[in-house]
């Protein structure tokens, strides 16, 4: 299942780091961060609860970019 989220991130490098961090989060099959449009597309593994996984994703992203925001 794929979902599109609005994000707020200041620099392009951080966006790349966020993408890495999201991909490594448990329950995420794949992720793409688009810095230009400030959107993140997350593909969840089967049977995962998007909200719970996104909580983890936000935590991991905050580790690499403490200023970032994800709307979910």
């Amino acid at each position: 299942m794929k979902r599109n989220y609005k994000i707020e991130v200041d620099c392009a490098n951080c966006a790349n780091l966020m993408e890495e961090a999201t991909k490594k989060t448990a329950g995420v099959a794949n992720a793409v961060v688009n810095f230009m449009t400030q959107k993140m597309i997350v593909e969840f593994e089967d049977g995962q609860d998007p909200k719970a996984v996104m909580e983890e994703v936000l935590k991991n992203c905050r580790k690499v970019e403490s200023d970032c925001e994800i709307e979910f």
Binding site: D10, C11, N13, N16, V32, N34, I41
Partner: protein, 628 residues
Amino acid sequence: MNKKQKLMLKRIIIASLLLIALQFVPITGVLQLICFLAIYGIIGYDILWKSWKGICNKQVFDENFLMAVATIGAFALAIYEQSGDYNEAIAVMLFYQIGELFQSYAVGKSRRNITALMDIRPDYANIEVDGQLTKVDPYDVAVGDIIVVQPGEKVPLDGIVLDGKASLDTSALTGESVPRNVVVGDEITSGCININGVLKIRTTKEFDDSTVAKILELVENATSRKSKSENFISKFARVYTPFVCYSALALAILPPLVNQFIWQVGANWEIWVYRALTFLVISCPCALVISVPLSFFAGIGGASKEGILVKGSNYLEALSKIKYVVFDKTGTLTHGVFQVSAVHHNTLAQEKLLEYAALAECASSHPISLSLQRAHKGEIDRNRVTDIQEISGHGIVAKVDGKSVAVGNDKLMDQLHVAYKSCHSTGTIIHIAINNDYAGHIVISDVIKPQSKEAIQALKKAGIKKTVMLTGDRDSVAQEVAHELAIDEVHSQLLPADKVTQVENLLTAKEKDSNLAFVGDGINDAPVLTRADIGIAMGAMGSDAAIEAADVVLMDDNPRNIAKAINIAKKCMSIVYENIIFAISIKALCLLLGAVGIANMWFAIFADVGVMILAVMNAIRALNVKNC
């Protein structure tokens, strides 16, 4: 400017003023240190905090860390040397923050400009309820509702015209300024601007499914499909930052040690640590990481303004390497609308022959039947026609006014044992036999689009090595069209599966680094579109299937846009390569200068910010595609 940016601007201004003020206040020693530290705190607290959190989260090597180490190091050096010269450390942090603010502002502004440029979304719809018009949000309009679009307004949803007629400006979708006319019964696409008539429309789709919304979504998501260049830059940045940190460390430690123990001269720690710090400051990869995605964003945005929808940055990249273009004939290079061009050997009057043919064909919707029906000027009275038999691949046999009329190709005539006369004209020949007597034949030909010839020439100018045309039509027709348009290779009389085989042969034959594009109308060509390196669908306005099937969608049906798409892609890619080469070489040069001591920290900051600004400005150039 958003809140964060405004706050940063205030901090920069305050810190700068205080710094200048401190130059004129004669304090020394610990008090001076405290004042400078205060200013440093104002301008740099967030960087220090982020680098601390980075270390805690095991994300040590990033820009913040570099900046923190560089500036704290500079402070330490100044304290150690008791020079009281803390200006440098603060200046470094100050200029870094200015640079970051400028970058954030420039990128934000560019992003907003490009998004505004692409914003073709209609803001409201006029719903008619009981004769009253109310303005509503387009999202609130249901399928089947009646909406009214007045002159000057944008059509908010896809639908069918119930009443009125008008000229439409389709440039928001197609980039084409020639207006299209609609009358009652025509389908109308959202995003067009009504020029001069009042239109009453019954909606066929909700707002989210209407063409406008679909195009916007497509273009927005396109930059999420990353190109090879972008992937390269991401990988580069991931390797680069730790590499520079370690290099800086080596620069700070090794030369002094070598000096001390091998050359047996003074270590000169101060000089080498300073150089290492400068090294760190120059090393930031912002220019690269920002400018490449921005170029693609601008390129895709600019292309969409011209009615060329590229579904991914990777496709834009692939487009620039196209060397072979394969065309479908009917509907792509020709109008796909057949017309009666001649009647030969008719034993009855031409009009009569056409009348019989039209009547026999009245029940069919085959393009050839439709052209026969159109050629007959009078009314088609279906009551005169009975016992219609459609023989697939052959034609139609029917009873018109009691007479047996056969309308079809050579095979039909053979089947009925009617001797027919062949034709030396190119085109599709339809023979007519009445009561098994040959009555003559009608020549039907497809009309080449007027822009096709110019389109092929433009492609050759754009560097295409070979143009190929594939068609299911007869060889003589295919050869004539190819000759007329100066196309290099023709394959005719192909079944749909044969087209795929032809494309596969061409793919095997081409060089590794060049790409092959297939251009079709999208509806019948899905397998071939998928097989080619790039599938281009033309005339996609109003066709969801075409938009779905292809990688590049040309909203207008003008083949000239194929060369335009390739030129836009080439321009974008050259900007991307310019930025990559420029950024990397300037950085390398400055790193070298910093390592040998020619460049100081001020120079370092300017180099960093300057390169980034230039790269961003260059990236925006990708938006100008008018003359491609």
